[in-house]
């Protein structure tokens, strides 16, 4: 299927690969050339490419061109193309294959470095955080939260607690650069009385090995994390407010045929459940100023993983938190929402202008809602949408769900308001 054309650059037979990797009836041969994929792809036009062109070039045997086009690093593998395609053709699969065929030294450095960092220590952190750094950050954080308020004097953030119900992962960004952002989530767990634990190994909630097109490393990453959950005997692997860490784990389990003794859960689904069960009595009474909110559907969590059920939960939580009249949805939304351009390793790839060009569509969507805040349960969406706001002078802010939940419950600390604007900086203190 593959031949070597020059040192370390593999030329892929894309037509044959599509036939092998995609289901019958949804392979490139089934393409109607209708262009719905391209119309809905924010990467259309970048590097002279779009999803339909990718398919057509494969069918026209333009394997050299496809094997070398940098467009594959601007495609975030968000699968909007597959979602809208009348034949359900998934272009992202061969984009992943094309990424894998690039020689490591030509791949975007940032993505490769993040994957390499994940492989370095058992914690699997893409920011290279070691086990002790993580444990220390958590312990310091816990001490600080306990000191904030009597209510949380006995708050726990257990690590390696055998048999806990939830195994909670943690994006490296908080312990590495903003440890005070961990507090709100711990408070929520404390509030609902969740039986949970972190792990000192396989704790990190990012996985750039899939985006680097490195299957072996992706597999190793997932194995380490699955082992960690199996070892602690947890029932639910609870994925934090992050998109791709969810997708890469459950998809990896399926792809590599791993044995997982637990189910995968998304934090926002549990927020919704706890609200419905009355354990998280949040409401929108705090929003007396009529501050407007919209939500971004993380592709990896919604379209690629849990679908509109997830999108519904996100909206249920958001509407409850901000009030129906203060919620403005994007168009299109839910599974049809556009990728922000932060995923797929784009944020790490160093291709800034292309990333802004990609993100312009997201920016315009947000601008149309006239929202003051964007809520999103994904760290990549969070960073990208914030960056887009600055670049295009948006004037909106991006906020985690845990911030608003704690705000609504009146338990948000003064130093936990990094992502809130002046309008909410002092509310409820």
């Amino acid at each position: 299927m593959e031949t070597t054309s020059q040192a370390a650059t593999r030329t892929i037979d894309f037509k044959a690969a599509a036939r092998d990797l995609l289901p019958p009836g949804a392979s490139y041969d089934a393409c109607l050339s209708c262009g719905l994929c391209s119309a809905g792809c924010p990467a259309s036009g970048l590097e002279g490419m779009d999803p339909r062109r990718f398919i057509r070039m494969a069918m026209l045997d333009m394997n050299e061109e496809l094997s070398t086009t940098p467009w594959i690093w601007t495609c975030t593998q968000c699968q909007r193309c597959k979602y809208i395609c009348p034949m359900s053709i998934d272009v992202s699969v061969l984009v992943g294959l094309a990424r894998s065929a690039w020689p490591t030294e030509k791949k975007p450095r940032g993505i490769v470095r993040s994957c390499e960092a994940q492989l370095r220590f058992p914690g699997t952190s893409a920011m290279g955080l070691q086990e002790q750094d993580f444990v220390d950050a958590v312990e310091e954080g816990v001490a600080s939260v306990r000191g904030q308020n009597d209510r949380f004097a006995r708050l726990e953030a257990p690590i390696d607690k055998q048999g806990a119900y939830f195994f909670v992962n943690q994006n490296s960004r908080e312990p590495a650069t903003e440890p005070e952002e961990m507090g709100p989530l711990w408070k929520i767990f404390d509030y609902v009385g969740a039986d949970w634990t972190y792990s000192s190994t396989g704790w990190a909630a990012e996985n750039f090995c899939m985006f680097a097109g490195d299957d072996q490393a992706w597999r190793k990453m997932v194995e380490q994390r699955v082992d960690a959950v199996n070892r602690l005997g947890c029932k639910v692997w609870l994925n934090t407010e992050c998109g791709h860490s969810f997708y890469t784990l459950w998809k990896g389990v399926e792809r590599f045929g791993l044995k997982a003794d637990f189910e995968a859960g998304s934090l926002v689904s549990y927020y919704a459940r706890w609200i419905r069960e009355g354990r998280l009595p949040v409401n929108a009474e705090w929003n007396t100023q009529g501050i407007k909110f919209t939500v971004q559907d993380p592709c990896q969590l919604v379209r690629k993983s849990l679908g509109d059920t997830m999108a519904d939960d996100i909206r249920f939580v958001a509407r409850t938190l901000v009030g129906d009249s203060n919620f403005v949805d994007m168009a299109p939304s839910r599974s049809a929402n556009y990728c922000c351009g932060g995923g797929g390793g784009f944020l790490q790839a160093g291709m800034k202008e292309l990333r802004y060009a990609y993100g312009k569509r997201k920016f315009d969507q947000i601008a149309t809602t006239q929202a003051d805040y964007v809520l999103t349960p994904c760290h990549n969406c969070h960073s990208q949408i914030e960056d887009l706001g600055q670049h295009f002078h948006g004037g909106y802010r991006v906020v985690h769900f845990w911030t608003l939940i704690c705000l609504s419950l009146g338990i948000l600390g003064a130093d936990e308001r990094k992502y809130l604007g002046p309008d909410l900086a002092r509310l409820g203190l």
């Binding site: 393409c31 109607l32 050339s33 209708c34 070039m57 026209l60 333009m62």
Partner: protein, 533 residues
């Protein structure tokens, strides 16, 4: 009114070959076709440049002729040819004796042929059936019949300012004293009449040659019409030409055409040349036969079927079977029928068109008192900007290499950019004022990809309105005629993955645009439909 040394009737590969042959001798020609270039068998074939293998057993003279002509064309027109090589394969149920004799017959016709094991054949072409029992390699190749025709005309225009007139139909000859003085022709679009005065008249009308000869009062040309249908796959199957090693029959040649493959043909004797179109029964037959050689044909997406009519020479008392009739050609000088300046060239094959043109050119030149020898055997066929767009895969490579994203791609399936359309409209032979979409399709890959014109028809039309090539409802009618033409080819292969394609095209063309309700005369539909956007 036109004055010329030689009037040639028929814009197929033979007529254009004669045009170039004569132009290389310094002779001015006018070429006419009642439709357009390649409208007959020249556009309705496999694009196979026969090594001669197919005729080695039954027709050794044609076989040897194919071999010689193939070698010449590979040398003078390499840009039109994919020297992909060919295989002859026999599968279980085929006659082992026929297969066994193949090598020897190829040798006596001078065709380079090597026996290989079925395993070796399957290694070369993994798509081949496991039921192979014999296989031979031959130097088959493929030829782009559209490009070679365009290049012929282009070259003749350059050499002697020769002229090609499309949609110009011969109505009658004016004969005086055993000489054709002129031809009265009608523009089939405008109905206007033109008279062409010519010293010599060549009838190269292919399947219509008998009709043309009769207009000149000649009854010596007798043709058998053999309709052949082919189907085109969505993607290329195999690298080589794959021939079934048996007495020629239906569905026994699979030919790569750049990015696609063509499976054919059927052979059915027909009496009438009008309304030739492929049928479901023919397609079923081709698929059933094709599966025996290449099992994946069973689940291959075919995007179009098309038909051509082979004009076969019928010798007196010959068997009326298209498969058995000669693939050779004849040149009629009509002198015994009392005409001194009329010639008909008929029969033959795409592979041997140059030789047909040479013999015809010799006769016409001699009659004109021109002593220049034929030069087509050694003179390379020049290409040109406007005549290279029919090559599958050329436009996308051109577009990618050029890196001009502003050069909008109009046909997404074949990645034909606006600059290609502009070049065709400005410079391609026969694409004169108010070019039709059908004419663009003959000169490019527009409409030949997966969508079969569903989208490119609309985009190219819009582009032509934007460029003010169209400024009246005529442009939309060209679009309608084009998609109607495509539909004839798509309908017989509308199953499986291709059926949604047809539904989509119908929704666009009929549901959205109402092209099916477009009036035939000017200005009858809402004028908003043709305003510039």
């Amino acid at each position: 009114m036109f004055e010329t040394e030689a009037l040639i009737i028929g814009g197929g590969v033979t007529g254009t070959g004669v045009m170039r042959d004569l132009a290389l001798r310094g002779i001015h020609c006018v070429l006419i076709d009642r439709r357009d270039l390649n409208a007959g068998a020249s556009g309705g074939n496999h694009g196979l440049l026969h090594s001669g293998g197919r005729y080695a057993v039954g027709d050794p003279d044609t076989a040897a002729e194919c071999r010689r002509e193939g070698d010449i064309l590979k040398a003078v027109a390499p840009e039109c040819i994919d020297a992909c090589g060919g295989l002859f394969v026999a599968v279980q149920g085929d006659d082992p004796e026929y297969a066994a004799r193949f090598l020897e017959h190829c040798r006596s016709a001078g065709i380079e042929c090597t026996a290989i094991t079925p395993a070796e054949a399957r290694e070369l072409e993994p798509c081949l059936s496991e039921k192979l029992f014999a296989a031979y390699t031959v130097p088959d190749a493929t030829i782009d019949p559209f490009r070679i025709t365009l290049e012929n005309v282009n070259h003749a225009q350059q050499l002697t300012q020769s002229i090609f007139l499309a949609h110009t139909e011969l109505e009658r000859f004016i004969v005086d004293g055993g000489t054709i003085r002129s031809a009265v022709c009608r523009d089939t679009r405008t109905g206007e009449t033109t008279t062409i005065h010519a010293r010599q008249v060549v009838n190269a009308a292919g399947a219509w040659a008998m009709r043309v000869a009769r207009l000149a009062g000649c009854s010596g040309v007798n043709l058998l019409y053999s309709k052949g249908t082919l189907i085109i796959s969505n993607a290329r199957i195999g690298q080589r030409v794959i021939n079934r090693l048996r007495r020629p029959g239906d569905g026994d040649i699979l030919v790569p055409g750049g990015t696609v493959s063509l499976l054919g043909t059927t052979s059915q004797t027909v009496q009438n040349l009008d309304d030739i179109h492929p049928t479901v029964a023919e397609v079923d037959d081709l698929v059933a036969e094709g599966i025996a050689m290449v099992p994946q044909v069973a689940h291959t997406r075919f995007i179009r079927a098309f038909s051509g009519v082979r004009p076969l020479l019928m010798a007196a008392g010959a068997d009326a079977d298209g498969r058995k009739a000669s693939r050779g050609f004849s040149l009629f000088d009509h002198e015994s029928e009392g005409l001194a300046n009329f010639a008909t060239v008929a029969g033959g094959k795409l592979t041997t068109f140059r030789l047909m043109a040479e013999k015809t050119g010799d006769l016409v030149a001699r009659r004109l008192g021109n002593s220049q020898p034929c030069r087509t055997e050694t003179t390379p066929l020049p290409s040109g900007d406007a005549v290279r767009w029919t090559e599958p895969g050329f436009a996308p490579r051109y577009w990618v290499a050029r890196r001009q994203p502003g050069d909008l791609i109009l046909c997404e399936c074949e990645m034909v950019p606006a600059s290609a359309i502009d070049s065709i409209v400005e410079n391609a032979p026969g694409a004169q004022l108010q070019v039709s979409l059908n004419a663009i399709a003959v000169r490019s890959r527009v409409g030949k990809g997966t969508c079969q014109g569903a989208f490119c028809s609309l985009r190219v039309t819009s582009h032509l309105y934007d460029r003010q090539v169209y400024d009246s409802p005529v442009g939309l009618r060209h679009t309608r005629d084009f998609v109607a033409q495509r539909f004839k080819g798509v309908a017989p292969v509308a199953w499986g993955e291709h059926l949604p394609q047809l539904e989509l095209a119908e929704a666009l063309h009929c549901g959205l645009l109402g092209l099916d309700r477009l009036a035939d005369d000017g200005g009858q539909f809402p004028p908003t439909a043709v305003q510039d956007p």
